[in-house]
Structure formats: C-alpha cells, structure tokens
Symmetry: C2
Subunit: 308 residues, 2 copies
C-alpha cells in the first residue's frame, strides 16, 4: 500500500464537466496509461441517464474494461439506486454516492431532498449487502465546506450528515469541496472532527482548485491524518451546479507534492505525463492545467520510495 | 499590525522578469493602488545598473515616490554596496540583499563568490550603521530549498549561510524558493531550524509557484511560525538565472488564503483587484495569473477582521 492513496477522478468528474464526448476507446487508452503509471484507483464513470450526460453513456462498458486492468481499484459514481445497481453489476469495486450537505445543492445536483437522498443511500447499502457483497460504498459529502447556492455551510451541518451516512451503513465518508470554498484551517478542523464523529469510516478529501487553494488544503488534510485524495489529471472537472467551480486539484501537481514530501504514492511521474499526452490527444483544444508538466521535475529529485 | 505581513514584490521581482519596461508614471499608479488596498509593504525596485536591467532604471525615483504614500513600508533590493547606498539615499525603509545559498547561483545571479557576497553584506551593514540608521536590512537567502544549477541544497548549507548573515549583522534572514523546488515538509523543517539558529532574526518566506506548490508551502510556513510572506500581484516574476522558474505566489490568492483562514492581512481584496486592473492596463498582453480574480469571493465570505 502506498502511504497516500491517490484516486484519479478525471474520467468521471473531469469528463462529465466538458462538452466533448470522449470515445470509449480513447477512455480505455487513457485508463490503461493511468494504471500503468501506478495510479491505484480511478473513478472511471458516473452512472447517470445518457440523455442527461451523454459523456457517460458508456459507463458500464468503461467499468468492465477498467476491471480488466491489473491491480487497479475501479470506482464509479451513482446518484441513485438504478445507477448503483448498474455500476455494481458492471463490476465496480467501489461506489461513490454524492450526498450534498447543502439541501439547495442536493436539489440542484440530484433533484432530491436530504430525506430522499438518505433513502437512496439506505437502499444502495441494502442492495450491496444482498447482491454485491464486497463492494465498498463511499458517501461523498458535496458542499461540505460551503455552497455557491446556500453560502456558508457550518461544521455542524457537515458532521450531522456524516453521522447520518454512518448510520446508513456506508463504509467511508469523504468530504468534497465541490465549490472551491475550503481553506486550510477549516479543512484541518473538519477532518479531525469527522474522525471523532465517525471513526474509521472517515474517508478522503476531494478538493477543487477554484480559488487556487487546492494543494494548500491538501497540506492541512494530511496533517489531520487524511491519506486518500481525489485529483484529476490536467485539472479537468468542475460542477455544473456550482457556477464558476473549476476543476479538481491537478493529479500531476498533487503527486509531485506528496512524493517531494516523502510520501509514497506508488505513481511514476514520467508515466503519468505519458497518460496526460494521451488525454491531450483525445481532447484537442481542451485546456489542461498543472504546473509540473511545464516545469518538470527538480534537478536531483528523488521519489519517496527511493529516499526511504 | 496585521497578523500576517504581506510584502508585495511584483514591482521588483515581477517587473525585472518581463521584457516590457513599465513607464515610471504607470509604476506610481500601480504602487498607489496597492497602498490604497492596504498592502503594508512593497518591494518597489531593484538597484542594479540600468544597462543590465532597463526595467529598473528609475529605481530611485520610484522609491522616492513610494515613500510619499501614507503608511507604506518601502523596500528595495540591492546586490552590491553601490546599489545599497543609492537605495538608502532614496529613502528606502528596508533593503533586501540577495544572498544565494548555492554558490553556482551566486556566480550566475550576482557574479560573486560566497566570500565576495559576505563582504558586500558586511559593507552594507557598516554603511547603514554609519549613514542610514533605521534602515532595516534583510538577507534574502536565494536557492534556500534547491538550485536549478547545483540541484539539491541541504538544510545545513542554508542554515550555515543564515548564521553567517546573522554574524554580518543583518536584521532579518528570509528564505527564498527561487527555483520552485520547495515542498511543505522541507519548508516547515527549515523555517523551524532557522528560528533555532538565528532567533528573532528569522525572517519571511519568498516562494515561487513554479510547480504549483506555493500556497501549500505557505501553509507549512505558517505552522512553523512565519508571519511575513512575499507575493507578486498577478504572479508576475521569476528568475532569469533559474530556468523555467515562473512567477512568485499570487498576492490575490495568498491574501484570500490568509483571510479565509482567519489571519488578518489588513488588505481589501476588492481594492487589490482594482490595483490588478491598473497593472493589466499598463502591461497589455502580459499574462497575469491567479484564481481568485476569476472565481471571485465565496458567497458569505468574511474578512478575518470582521469575523474576529
């Protein structure tokens, strides 16, 4: 196991946010390249109706292909029972359920009240228990740090929803800064409180870089004991219901941060840049972000696994 | 006094790194707007020969104009005794002397060996003591975290140079990540060691965002007790002798980070964006960086001084 678990969410959070529909074969080439680079987990698709999100129409096929890649943990997102069933039937190892702390965001994003979404989560856990034992279920708490619709979100609101999710029987509860509102003081405070509240079910961090604070928030999360981070290659991504929210933190820059700090990710940066080239070729004209790809590795750079 | 002291270095580090020469009147408009925004300190110029750096030919005039702005601490950089004299004669309140920890960088940047540069620093301190009492002298340790020419720089090398500077009688010793090599683990470790080594002479942090790690390093520095940060509006800047080094951390994003964390900077972000508009108008076509200017403040955002 690497010291820090990087979960690549570009194929889901990234591709759902751009207009271009990446062909299935291109997705498969990109996923294979990411897996070759040593990325341990990829959220490969979102199981939503194709009429709402044509970028994800091939979700089941992509999950099946990803499951054939060696040593890769395959995650998928599903906002409802039907999507969850399809994702698990396709073979996903992990399921992320997007649960908004802000009810306004919940209504905009999944068209459900809190009460309705809690019922979805209960139903998905029951389905997993009955038919898909072994699939890991994560509640990803959207707008955990603030909401473009509702404004400030209190720690108490986020922790209350985390407790509700624990009561529903999910395996892990992650915190998402969907809107780029989080700051390091808040991140450290909230992840520490999350662990106090739900113990070992405390999950990973999903940060957007909307206000340039993504990696600063990672540092605070690391200090609070977080060891799983979502990131998106090239910073692809955003949220259609969080206006102005730009992409996730950039995988390339995150991996450099962690390795430079002496935290093994199991990822090879040269191979990660090869995956980026495949992505760039598949999405001509789409802006890709990140500093490391331009600047390159420092002279004398050593991976954590070499330095140890 | 604000909780954290932000020193704007764009007029020096930024403008010296781009080909365009900003007219003196435009510099004055920009400086005035920055001061109006509440920026407490600006490094306004570098005192180097105009034939080497025509962007800085008006250094003395700019210092004099800046000194007329109310409540502004005016800093200038000088690499030698002649420049230091001119800067202090013009009225600079603070003088930053660039002292490379890497001797290869010293030779490339100021064409001096370590021994020669130490003599410069001694001479400047003596001149200040004799003729310009009250001027604060900072040794800014370039390449403190690594060097594009020499590669890795050890903590011991940086701390040895810091001690040498303390022995020379400088008032403060800052650490500069000239090359964008620093990581948060190293930053925390080195600033803590700096304080152990030179006590109250431990100075601020000067980070470049070359590999996107700038604000992550700020978080680590804050935790190590650093309360002074250099930054450049729009991320202007770099180092002509550190290939690939892009600009400083972006003032706008830094101020947002600090205020969101509850750390008062005394700076108003709307007014800071007005200063950015003046900069953009004066440098047409020059790329300006930063996320906050695009994303805007979060809904319900409160400054530290309001929240307190």
């Amino acid at each position: 196991m690497p010291a820090v678990w990087v979960s690549e969410v570009g194929p889901r959070d990234g591709l759902q946010s751009i207009a271009t529909v990446m062909p299935t074969a291109a997705k498969q080439r990109w996923l294979a390249a990411l897996a070759r680079a040593g990325v341990p987990e990829i959220e490969v698709a979102s199981f939503v109706p194709a009429r709402l999100m044509p970028q994800m129409a091939d979700a089941a096929e992509v999950v099946r292909a990803a499951c054939a890649l060696p040593a890769l943990h395959v995650a998928a997102l599903a906002p409802n029972l039907q999507g969850a069933r399809a994702a698990m039937a396709a073979g996903a190892h992990k399921l992320t359920l997007p649960v908004s702390v802000s009810e306004a965001h919940s209504l905009a994003n999944v068209r459900k009240t809190h009460a309705e979404m809690v019922e979805v989560v209960r139903g998905v856990v029951a389905l997993r228990d009955a038919e898909f034992a072994g699939v890991r279920i994560e509640a990803g708490l959207s707008t955990a740090f603030g909401c473009t619709l509702a404004g400030a979100v209190s720690d108490a609101q986020t922790l209350r929803m985390a407790q509700t999710m624990a009561d529903c029987g999910v395996d892990e509860i992650g915190l998402s800064d969907t809107t780029g509102y989080a700051n390091p003081a808040q991140v450290g405070r909230l992840f520490r409180a999350l662990r106090r509240e739900v113990g070992e079910r405390a999950g990973g961090a999903h940060f957007h870089n909307t206000r340039g604070q993504g990696l600063a928030n990672v540092v605070a999360a690391l200090e609070a004991g977080v060891t799983t981070f979502d990131a998106s290659q090239g910073g692809l991504g955003g949220c259609p219901h969080a206006p102005g929210a730009t992409g996730n933190i950039v995988t390339e820059d995150l991996v450099f941060l962690l390795e430079a700090m002496g935290l093994d990710t199991g990822i090879d940066l040269d191979a990660l840049l090869q995956a980026r080239a495949i992505l760039a070729e598949a999405l001509p004209g789409e802006p890709l972000y990140g500093h490391l790809p331009d600047a390159g590795l420092p002279k004398g750079f050593a991976y954590a696994r070499e330095a140890a």
